[in-house]
């Protein structure tokens, strides 16, 4: 099975080379994407088989290439299989979408060769059973996606995004390098097997810190998220879908692999930084998203929020595991991985939808969209499902993982330590807040893009996207629904993963009545997505039926009422900015140091009234600006060294000589 998976990676790399030549023509481009879809589907199948296979040891294949002084192992253990399934399922569907969407790229030769390499990199990370191939995959993933972000390289914004991305990705990889260096020890036992066997004591906290920095920067944990909202939207939409929906999951995998698998048994306090960062990430992510009017950037910021939710689950799992509460740890961990799965589905879906919109209108700015629900019905339906699902509303999948996380939070009084016991309720409140804000955010996203009246010519002349894209989006929407109403299957297939990560698994859910899930105890909590869904359908149908029987069938189309002041201009509609204004007032003044300036002409004056809103990115100002300033200032100061005279340079040599002589002379 591992061999199959490894050959899948090889195939993708081969496709990448083929892509250089195939990208010259549209059929070639389509072919490459179709092949990617097929390979990913195959890989997903392999991963699923591995996940459902009865528990067995890791069967890994040794590859004769790789690190010169070590051995390279590729293989699927339950953890990597779970992530491989998530990654490849989404990647397969996104590739299917790209068969239709990908041909619209302005320069396909800048996209097609890197796309399979990107997927191959992610798969390599998952398959790697040694530090070297892990990092090779990691860097390959970063590098390929960097090239993809640069595919529209003519816009300076994109170049800036790509630069920030590349630098931060590289910094993250270097911290992971340190982490592995620490784990491998001076003898360089780089295979995970060896690391687990040796498991040096006392390195755990540092590994945790490095994993938070390294994997966290890739995943988009605040304050290391800065690249994410720049880079994800800059790429072509199918790539954005992969970056946001899938690549961040690979980062989560990296964190889980390092902290849960390799770093040894956790201490209870490990959960504290994870939970704090996760909660801040969740809240800030959604607030950033709310302030954003660019559809793709909004989605990217929202990824930050979801990463926060995932890490809340992981932090809880750490706390529980450290205190020996294995069942609770399994619940929290399963919730996190379930959310990983969910997010990969709906975030890919939403990015594909935004791609369809972008393609149909040429606009990403929500202030210039509107009314697309009529021109693009299928896209609208799929996007709506994605919006509801991501807002964690039943009966879709986002709710289930959030519900599980809440259940895990409610178990936290069992924790013996005071700090997490005080912290967890606050985290829960943050989670609840961010969920509610997410709903607001996606009302805005869907409402401004698809509802109302078209705000520009481009929006009013849009047409539905192609068939491939529609099928891809609708199938993801269907998966969102299925995962929402049949969560038991997902939880059961995660059993082996939780067993591996925290040493326990949730009780099997498949035997429960109504296909409900019962994480702990039937008297404590249960949820049947299926039944809720069926009931809503029945209730809606019954109501509709009853109303139809009783009510008047007359329906008249007329101008909008609008309290008696209808205005023909679509400019009078609520805009994304005005929609978010109350929330900006409430939350933004602190977080973004938002400042509004209103220039209102006196009555009778015909001058234009102006409202200026200034938002500052406080994280960027507080963290990145000083670093950039420091580097720039140091570079500036040192740069004088380029313009010294020869005598000055000789003085340097002389000074170095005297200094070294003094050292030698004083050393005994």
């Amino acid at each position: 099975m591992s061999q199959l998976a490894a050959s899948g990676v090889g195939l993708l790399l081969a496709l990448s080379v083929l892509g250089i030549f195939a990208a010259r023509r549209t059929p070639g481009t389509r072919l490459i994407y179709a092949a990617c879809a097929a390979v990913c589907a195959g890989l997903a199948g392999v991963a699923l088989l591995r996940l459902l296979a009865p528990a067995g040891g890791l069967e890994s294949v040794e590859i004769p290439i790789g690190l010169p002084l070590g051995r390279t192992f590729l293989g699927l253990d339950p953890l990597s299989a779970a992530f491989a399934l998530i990654v490849n399922l989404a990647a397969a569907i996104v590739s299917g979408y790209a068969i239709g969407y990908g041909v619209h790229a302005r320069e396909p030769q800048r996209v097609v060769p890197f796309y399979p390499a990107f997927i191959a990199g992610m798969n390599l990370v998952l398959l790697a059973q040694d530090a070297f191939s892990f990092l090779v995959g990691w860097e390959l993933m970063s590098l390929a996606s960097w090239a993809l972000v640069l595919s529209e390289h003519r816009s300076p914004e994109n170049r800036h995004a790509a630069l920030v991305y590349l630098i931060m990705a590289s910094g993250g990889a270097l911290t992971l390098l340190l982490a592995f260096g620490l784990l491998a020890g001076p003898e360089g036992g780089y295979s995970f097997e060896a690391i687990r066997r040796v498991s040096a004591s006392g390195v755990g906290p540092i590994v945790l810190l490095l994993a938070l920095l390294g994997a966290g920067s890739k995943a988009g944990l605040v304050p290391l998220h800065a690249w994410l909202p720049l880079a994800h939207p800059a790429a072509p939409s199918h790539v954005s879908a992969l970056m946001s929906g899938v690549m961040t999951k690979v980062a989560v995998y990296g964190f889980v692999r390092l902290v849960f698998d390799l770093a040894g048994p956790p201490a209870w306090w490990w959960s504290v930084p994870v939970l704090v960062i996760a909660a801040v990430t969740a809240l800030l992510g959604v607030l950033y998203a709310l302030m954003e009017h660019d559809l793709k950037r909004l989605l990217a910021y929202h990824t930050v929020e979801n990463i926060g939710i995932i890490f809340i689950g992981l932090g809880l799992a750490l706390a529980f595991e450290a205190s020996g509460l294995r069942a609770a740890a399994a619940l929290a961990f399963a919730a996190a991985i379930f959310h990983v799965f969910n997010h990969s589905l709906f975030k890919s879906l939403l990015f594909m939808g935004s791609g369809a919109v972008l393609n149909a209108t040429g606009e990403r700015d929500m202030e210039r969209l509107g009314g697309l629900i009529k021109a693009m019905p299928a896209t609208a339906v799929a996007f709506l499902v994605g919006c509801i699902a991501i807002s964690a509303l039943p009966p879709f999948n986002g709710f289930v993982s959030e519900w599980l996380t809440f259940q895990a939070i409610l178990l936290s009084p069992q924790l013996p330590q005071w700090v997490p016991r005080l912290l967890v309720p606050a985290v829960g409140a943050t989670l609840a807040c961010s969920a509610a804000l997410a709903a607001a955010c996606f009302v805005k996203a869907f409402g401004m893009t698809f509802l109302g009246r078209p705000r520009t010519q481009a929006a009013s002349s849009a047409a539905e996207t192609d068939r491939c894209s529609q099928i891809a989006m609708l199938s993801l929407a269907l998966l969102c629904l299925l995962a929402g109403i049949l969560p038991g299957f997902v939880i059961d297939s995660l059993g082996a993963v939780t067993q591996m990560a925290v040493g326990a698994r949730l009780a099997p859910q498949s035997g429960q009545a109504w296909l409900r899930i019962v994480p702990i105890d039937i008297h404590r909590s249960a949820y049947s997505g299926l039944l809720v869904f069926v009931m809503i359908l029945l209730a809606a149908a019954a109501t509709a039926f009853a109303v139809r029987r009783v009510a008047s069938h007359a329906l008249r189309r007329s101008a909008a009422w609008d309290c008696g002041f209808p205005d023909a201009s679509p400019a009078t509609q609520y805009t994304a900015g005005s929609f978010a204004q109350p929330i900006r007032r409430v939350f933004g003044s602190v977080v973004f140091r938002a400042r509004e300036q209103l220039t209102m002409p006196r009555p009778g004056d015909t001058a234009v009234a102006r409202l200026q809103v200034e938002l500052r990115d406080t994280v960027w100002d507080a963290l990145y600006t000083p670093i950039i300033r420091f580097v720039a200032a140091t570079a500036e100061r040192l740069n004088r060294m380029q313009f010294l005279t020869i005598r000055n340079y000789l003085t340097l040599v002389f000074a170095a000589l005297v200094a070294l002589l003094i050292i030698v002379g004083t050393w005994r």
Partner: protein
């Protein structure tokens, strides 16, 4: 080796350090050239004495090179350059002479300190000879970096190199000393020719073709 032999070697090497100080002290161009010629003679004597002591006739060649090339040709050539290029007759220093001398003394101290732990098995002769050579080298270097004038910088480099030859000749039985001294002579000739070709009036770094600060590739 009799004590007298080593005392003479010692004396010659010591005189070179003294002459190095004199070089540092000079603030007139022609006086500097004269002192440098003396420096070269002292080196020649020292190397010749070593040749005699070590029964190494090839060292006489080195001594001869030092005498003729550094003691005669180079000073003459530099004198010509000074006249032809109209170089200032007084030497412009970065740090005034007083502190430079003090620093020079510190450098001699440093050379002795770093040579102190050298095992006694080598004998006091080699150890102190080396300390002198190192002092000459460092003083030459000091001169290079504290003088703005191209000619005095060249002289600094040559006195540095004299220190090297002193050390090489003091190392008993060291092969290639002659080749090395020839090689260095060529190098110095290059430098002197370079100064002449590029019409470097005041400093090494104003290769006086045009304002070179602008042509360092990356104008500020």
């Amino acid at each position: 080796m009799s004590p007298l032999d080593s005392d003479i070697a010692h004396l010659l090497a010591g005189s070179m350090v003294l002459l190095s100080f004199l070089l540092l002290y000079q603030d007139r161009m022609f006086a500097l050239l004269n002192v440098f010629a003396l420096h070269a003679y002292a080196l020649a004597c020292s190397v010749a004495w070593q040749a005699y002591l070590q029964r190494a006739p090839h060292l006489f060649i080195t001594a001869l090179i030092a005498l003729l090339f550094k003691g005669v040709i180079i000073p003459l050539a530099l004198r010509r350059i000074v006249v032809r290029l109209g170089i200032h007759r007084s030497i412009e220093t970065v740090v005034s002479v007083g502190p430079t001398m003090l620093f020079g003394i510190a450098l001699v101290g440093l050379s002795i300190v770093v040579m102190l732990p050298v095992t006694q098995a080598e004998g006091p002769f080699v150890r102190e000879d080396l300390a002198f050579a190192l002092s000459v080298l460092l003083l030459g270097f000091l001169m290079m970096v504290t003088r703005r004038n191209a000619v005095s910088q060249v002289i600094g480099f040559m006195s540095l190199e004299n220190g090297l030859v002193l050390a090489a000749s003091g190392a008993r039985g060291m092969p290639l000393v002659v080749e090395i001294s020839v090689g260095f002579s060529v190098l110095i000739a290059f430098i002197v020719i370079g100064i002449f070709l590029f019409r470097i009036r005041e400093r090494f770094d104003t290769v006086d073709l045009q304002a070179l600060d602008m042509s360092r590739g990356e104008a500020l």
